[in-house]
C-alpha cells in the first residue's frame, strides 16, 4: 500500500491521541474546579486535550513525507517472550518462589534471542540464578521464599 505519509508519524500520533483522549475523558469524571481552586480534574483535562492536539499535529506533519527507510522487522519472538516473561514473573513470584521463577524467566528470556541455543540458554540461566540469589536474597536480604507455597505439598 503506497500511502504518501510517514507511517511512523501517524502511528506515534495515534498513540498520543489515544492516551490524551483517555486521560481527558476519564478526567471529566473528576471535579474540574475553578482557576482559583483547581480540582483534581483540571490539569489532566487540559493536558489530555493538549496531548490530543499534539498527536494530531505529529500525524499531520508526517503527511507527504513518507519514511525514508523501510521499518525494521518486528522482533515478535523477543516481544512475546520478554513481555510474557515479565508478566509470568509478576504472576508467579509469590506462588512459586524465587528459584523456580528465576530459572524459568531467565530461560525464556535467553531464548528470545535467536542467537541463543537451548544449551547456551541453560548455561546463562543457571549462572544468572546463582548471581541473583547471591545479590538479592543473600546480599540484600530480600524476603522471598526459595520455593513458594504452590510447590509445598
Amino acid at each position: 500500500m503506497a500511502v504518501n505519509a510517514s507511517k511512523n508519524d501517524a502511528a506515534a500520533g495515534a498513540i498520543f491521541v489515544a492516551f490524551g483522549a483517555y486521560f481527558a475523558l476519564e478526567a471529566l469524571n473528576y471535579d474540574f474546579g475553578t482557576p482559583l481552586r483547581m480540582g483534581p480534574g483540571f490539569m489532566p483535562t487540559v493536558l489530555g486535550g493538549i496531548l490530543v492536539a499534539l498527536g494530531m499535529a505529529v500525524a499531520i506533519t508526517g503527511l507527504g513525507k513518507p519514511d525514508a527507510e523501510a521499518p525494521p522487522r518486528w522482533p515478535l519472538r523477543g516481544m512475546a517472550l520478554i513481555l510474557g516473561t515479565i508478566i509470568f514473573f509478576a504472576a508467579t513470584v509469590r506462588g512459586l518462589g524465587f528459584i523456580p521463577v528465576v530459572l524459568i524467566s531467565g530461560f525464556a528470556t535467553a531464548l528470545s534471542s535467536e542467537r541463543n541455543t537451548i544449551l547456551s540458554a541453560l548455561v546463562i540461566t543457571v549462572g544468572l540464578c546463582l548471581l541473583c540469589m547471591l545479590i538479592f536474597v543473600i546480599g540484600l536480604g530480600l524476603i522471598i521464599p526459595w520455593f513458594g507455597p504452590w510447590l509445598r505439598f
Partner: protein, 501 residues
Amino acid sequence: MDLIASLGLGFSVALDPINILYCFLGVLLGTLVGVLPGIGPTATIAMLLPITFTLQAETALIMLAGIYYGAQYGGSTTAILINLPGESSAAVTAIDGYQMARQGRAGPALATAAIGSFFAGSVATLLLAFFAPPLARAALNFGAPEYFSLIVLGLLVSIALAHGSILKALAMIVLGLLLGMVGQDIYTGTPRFTFGVRELFGGLNFVAVAVGVFGVAEILRNLENETEREVGVKAVSNLWLTREDMRRVVMPILRGTGLGAVLGVLPGGGHILSAFASYSAEKRLSKTPGEFGKGMIEGVAGPESANNAAAQTSFIPLMTLGIPAHPVMALMVGAFILQGITPGPNVINEQPALFWGVIASMWVGNLLLVVLNLPLVGLWVKMLSIPYRVLFPAIVLFACIGTYSINQNVFDIYAIAFFGIVGYLLIRFGCEPAPLLLGFVLGPLLEEHLRRAMIISRGDPMIFIQRPISATLLVLAVGAVVIAVLPSIRRKRQEVFVEED
C-alpha cells in the same frame, strides 16, 4: 574560610573508607554500563535504587553519582574504539575519536578524553562547591510561581535538546506529565486513573517506568536487528600524548570546561548541548576546520571536557532547587526521597555532611576513574566482546527482582511490561524517551505548584508574569523553544545527531 571548612567536612566524608569503596563500586559499575551496549546509566541507577536503600544516605548518593559520571566516561571509550557512543553525550566524541582510533591513535584519544574529563570534573566540582550555597540561599525565597516557571523552563529546554521532531518531544513531555498524575490527588485525595486498583493509589512506581522505558524497550529495540559488535581496535598501545598533542589539547580542554560548566546548569540535558557546543566552537576556532571529522585531537578534548564538566554542574539544580535536570537526576531525586530527605534548598543546611560529602566524592570519583580507565583500558575493550545475548536476560531479571524488592508489590512488575511495550512502540516511531521520564517526575510538582500559585494569586494567572524571577524564567523557556525551532539551529542539530546513527 567557610568554603574551605565545608570542603574539609566534605572530604572527611568522602575519604571514609566505606564511602571510597562505594564510590569505587559506583564508578566501576558506571564505566561498565557505559561500555556495555543496551543498558545505560538511567536503567542501571533505576535498578540499583532498591539496593542503596539499606545504605547510609551519603554512601548511597555517592555511589549513584559515581555510576552517572562513570557512565559518561565509559561511553566515550566505546565512542572512540568502536564508533558507538554508549551515552548520548559521547556522540560528538565519536566523530573525531573514532577516526583517531582508525589511524592507530586510539591511545592518545583515550588519554585525551581521560585528562580532559579529569580536569573538567575537578574544576566543575569546585564551581559546584562555590556556587551551590548562594543559589540555595536564593532558592529559599522561591515561591510556588517561581517553582512552576522553573519546571516549565526545565521541561521546555529538554525539548530543545531532544533528537528529531520537536512536536514529538513536546507530546512525550505531556504524556509524561499525565502519567505522573496517576494516583491520589494531593489536595483532595481523589484517586485518579487508578482503574480502582489499590496499588495505583500511590501513583505509578517511578523505577518501573524508568526500567520499562529505558531497559525493556531498549532490549526490544536491540532484538530488532541482532548483530555482534565489531571491535575494530583489539589492543591499545602508547597511551602517552606527544608534546605536540599536549600543546593542542590545552586550550580546547579549558574552553570545553568553561562551556560545559555553564551549560550543565541548564535543566534538560546540558551535557549533550555542551559537548555539541564545544565541538562547533573548536571547529570554528581552528585554523584547519576542514580536518575536523578526520581525527582532530581537539575534537576529542573539547567535547569530552565539556560533557564531563556539565555532568558535575548538572547537580547544581538538583542540590539547590530540588529540580532534576535530566532523567538520571530525576532518579537521584528518587534516591533522596527513599532516604527520607526532600531534595531542595534545605539540604545544604540540614544535611551538610551529605551535601559536601557528595561534592567531594565527585572529585575522588574522577580520580578513581582515571586510575581505573587508563591502565585497564584493555579490560574494557574485552568487555565489549561480551555478547548481547548473555546480557539482556540479566537485565530483564534484575529489573523484575529489583523493582519487586522496593515495595514487594507485584503490580510494579506488570507496570514494567506495560511501559516496556509502550516505550518500545514510541521509540520505534521516532520519539525520544527522556522527555517522557522528565515529565513523569516533574508532573506532580508542576501541578502542585500551579495550583498553589493560583490560590496565592486568587485565580489570576498574571502572577507568573508579575513576579520578576518567574517572568524571567518563563522568557528563557520561550526562548529555548524559539531557538530550537529556528531553521539554522535545526540544521545544526541534525548534523550532530546524524553522526550518531
